[in-house]
Point group: C2
Chain length 456, copies 2
Amino acid sequence: MDKSVDVAVVGAGIAGLVAARDLMRAGLEVMVLEARDRVGGRVLNAELPGGSPIEVGGQWVGPTQHEVMALIGELGLRTYPTHTAGRHIAELGRSRSEYTGRIPRVNPLTLLDIAQTQFRLDRLARKVARSEPWEYELAESLDAQTFDTWLRDHAHTTDGRAFFRLITEAVFSTGPEDMSALWANFYIGAAGGLDALINVVDGAQQDRVVGGTQTIALAMARELGDRIVLDSPATEIDWDDSGVRVRAAGLTVRARRAVIAVPPPLAARIRFGPGLPGDRDQLVQRMPMGRVIKVNVAYDEPFWRAEGWSGQANSDRRALGTVFDNTPFGGDPGVLVGFLEGRHADTSARLSPPERRALVLEDLAGYFGPRARKPIAYVEKDWAEEEYSRGCYGAFTTPGTLTRFGPALRCPIGPLHWAGTETATAWPGYIDGAVESGHRVAEEINSDRTTAVNSR
Amino acid sequence: MDKSVDVAVVGAGIAGLVAARDLMRAGLEVMVLEARDRVGGRVLNAELPGGSPIEVGGQWVGPTQHEVMALIGELGLRTYPTHTAGRHIAELGRSRSEYTGRIPRVNPLTLLDIAQTQFRLDRLARKVARSEPWEYELAESLDAQTFDTWLRDHAHTTDGRAFFRLITEAVFSTGPEDMSALWANFYIGAAGGLDALINVVDGAQQDRVVGGTQTIALAMARELGDRIVLDSPATEIDWDDSGVRVRAAGLTVRARRAVIAVPPPLAARIRFGPGLPGDRDQLVQRMPMGRVIKVNVAYDEPFWRAEGWSGQANSDRRALGTVFDNTPFGGDPGVLVGFLEGRHADTSARLSPPERRALVLEDLAGYFGPRARKPIAYVEKDWAEEEYSRGCYGAFTTPGTLTRFGPALRCPIGPLHWAGTETATAWPGYIDGAVESGHRVAEEINSDRTTAVNSR
């Protein structure tokens, strides 16, 4: 089957859908080619016993995520606050602390170390994110080291270092040793600081979307209607200055422009003819995905609340290092969500499903007592196994990559435009960054069109 | 077209050809699917004015590279020594030194710094390479940092550090900041030490192959005959315990086993059905290729020899950081070969061809005087632009990768076996490593077959 449109969009995740919707509204004919049998990409709902939706992918939004908040408003969706009342649990070193507010009760020396390191990190991150990160004056030196090396040079206590490892795994779903220190600083700065990334109230975990976050994608998909073609993985894109020809399963789409809205390592797996310039190809060889197995565990009621716990728990000694109350809107059933991140994802992915379930329930029982061992449902998602994600939450850059190939991240090549949360300047790796990137590529295409019309 | 064989080999580089030849000799039916219109992979001849062959890819062999030396003997090919008589040139810091033997004349403090750092590096590298590198007792700590961080902690003079950067670029075609310190140490140890990597006499650059190194591939290809199918890039491999179905252009090959003998980032671009386990996929997301533009410049005669120079030159202040006399067997014409490596490859790839040629000739004139500006031929190859290599000399691992995913490098998955120089235990990244890996996969397949027969 052959189709001809103005713009072909590869990928019906949030970035691709936003781009397609903007372009459609600007009067262009678009077609969105999606590899899977569904829209949403790394944002996906599942169903709990009783029928409530639960997110197995990206789920939270926060008050400084202006792009996604605007989109949610525009689509007529509603948000509700993440449950946070009660005592949080923090296990660090040999101690367990139960606390309310934002600061765990840990030894004052550790606290000072954490506070000083965070101060330095936030100050540096702000500077890095103020411009293109590869143009920051100390970019070369930061990009020559891993974030682990940077943390070792700045945090001096064992527990302080353990805290930042835990935070890194929770935010990046990979260890500090995997990433460039420049990328880590850029990412933190582009979110407005470490607190914005890790906090619930005023932070990236503050709010949830009624009906589950995939409703954002589903609402846009409804507007786009049959402009979206499912089960059509784009495998080949031929291009020249006049346009593109995209092959996706049995379909061939000709268009003046293409938007590639898939994660960088998957963009590397599309065959381009002619092949892309070395800079772009080397970039996508060097932006691997983080790795996380997300587990939602449902109980007949949110029993932890009755015992005074918020459901929020962190530990540097458990595979399930980060846990939140994830009870859906309406309060039924009670749900705890936990994350197996980075190296914990590696080791638990090698277990059999019953072994992994036992590991997760043991960790939850360690936090919240034996009732955690009796769930009514257990829903897990290993994103590294998903052929069309191959990891979550997002891609990161390895050392040396941003300073060598950073500009290739967003720079269009002929008729090819690059979207996806990894290309965002604010909140990369988040739904918000995906929305920003979708608007940006639509704007790139529209402004070129305006220029072309005006110059006739 | 449908074919059915015992083993399908993907890639007719040295590794794939060695594997196919071993399997054919063991009585199995093989078919080699090659994406390009030629065999050899990263080993390729071009032709000089007058018809002499010249290598634009991998070219040298050394006395401790036992696998490739044995193969050369077996194929009836001959080697000849790299020209090395005369004064070498070393530019480091502000000084230029002309020297014979192995040690440039540099300031004694720099020399001491280099000697001490090399001593520590060789001692560590030996330990790392003695086992699987991810099992070395300090593996985690080495893999958590870049090689640049390691060098900064061990080399203390500006020129000493510049020396190791130059060496790293020459050996790995990438900067020390791009790589895991564990990978760098493994690679150095697996070659038998830094001297073995950088020396001409007794080292990896000692000998050349009469007729050009691609003759190794061409000789094996002659034996394999029509078992090799060119212009057939494998794009999809369906597999289960009983075998594989490989699709390559119009061809479908069914086989009991497949050997994947392409570089890791290109193996990532083949679609496997079912998709490969997360560990393997994450590994190939995190093994990017080095980058080099190799330039052979021919002159009517090797004029530098008459002036007492060997043709060997290194500089930390020129884009063309490493140069050798590359005059072909027979001595006509005179050829200098230079390498634009790592970041030098990035910046020079962005120049126009005439600008890049001017840059190279200026650097050669800087080393060898104005006669270098008048070549009779200029032959360059940018391996990052090659769709079916996407970089050279080889892939490396980014920090955190070997300790997390190292075992996935060689471990077969059902009927899928992994070859290629990056999977070698000795001389990875060299032709020798490719030969080792080819023999290993053939042995994996043969020994399984023997077991199967015996257990009937």
